[in-house]
Amino acid sequence: MEPKRTLQPHAAVLAWVLPGLGHWVLGQRVRAARIAAGMAVLMLGGLLIGGVDSVDSENDRLWFIAQMGAGPLVLAIDAANQSGVKSLAVEEQRSWRSLGHVNSVGTLYLGLAGLMNAVVVLEALYPRPERRRRRRSGDRE
């Protein structure tokens, strides 16, 4: 008989605060590490490509809503963009603002990070019981 599924709101909140932390507290340590690694690729990749201008709650509002799924780090990046970069003189902003494909790709990386973490949060909220991988006849014990 399968174990009963229950809602885990604390895990969902922790999964939003730090991707992977929700599954860590549920005892799914391997899964948590894999989620954290994948989210790190997406978030650090987006920042590396587009810089802090990849998150912009004023000019890219719909993308920002998607990016919010990745947690408070996105809010911090947006705060750095709004209060740091945009407060600079126009000439000084030039090296901080990403344009064209660079901005699009950076925004897309962080947008997909937010959407994937939304799935992670839902999975942490109502986790499935862990299933063991089915052994095939050729597998070693």
């Binding site: 989620i35 994948g38 650090l44 990749g45 660079v102 901005n103 790709v105 897309l108 991988r133």
Partner: protein, 78 residues
Amino acid sequence: MMAWIPFAQPMPDLVGGWYLLCIPLVFGVAMVYKAIWMPQDGPWLRQVVVMTGLVVVALIALAVALAIFVQWIIPLLQ
């Protein structure tokens, strides 16, 4: 020119090969997707590599199909 500050300023000289950035993007999505849906004792990395390859091949096929449509089929209709 000022030195580039990684993770804060946009990456310079990236305009030409921007489409290659879809590969690490797909890899990151596959990492999270397979982490959620696979059992913890499953061959995660192998599945991630397979999914990345399939999605990139599908993207290339879509690009080729669109190019054929725009370059040859639409001019035939005119």
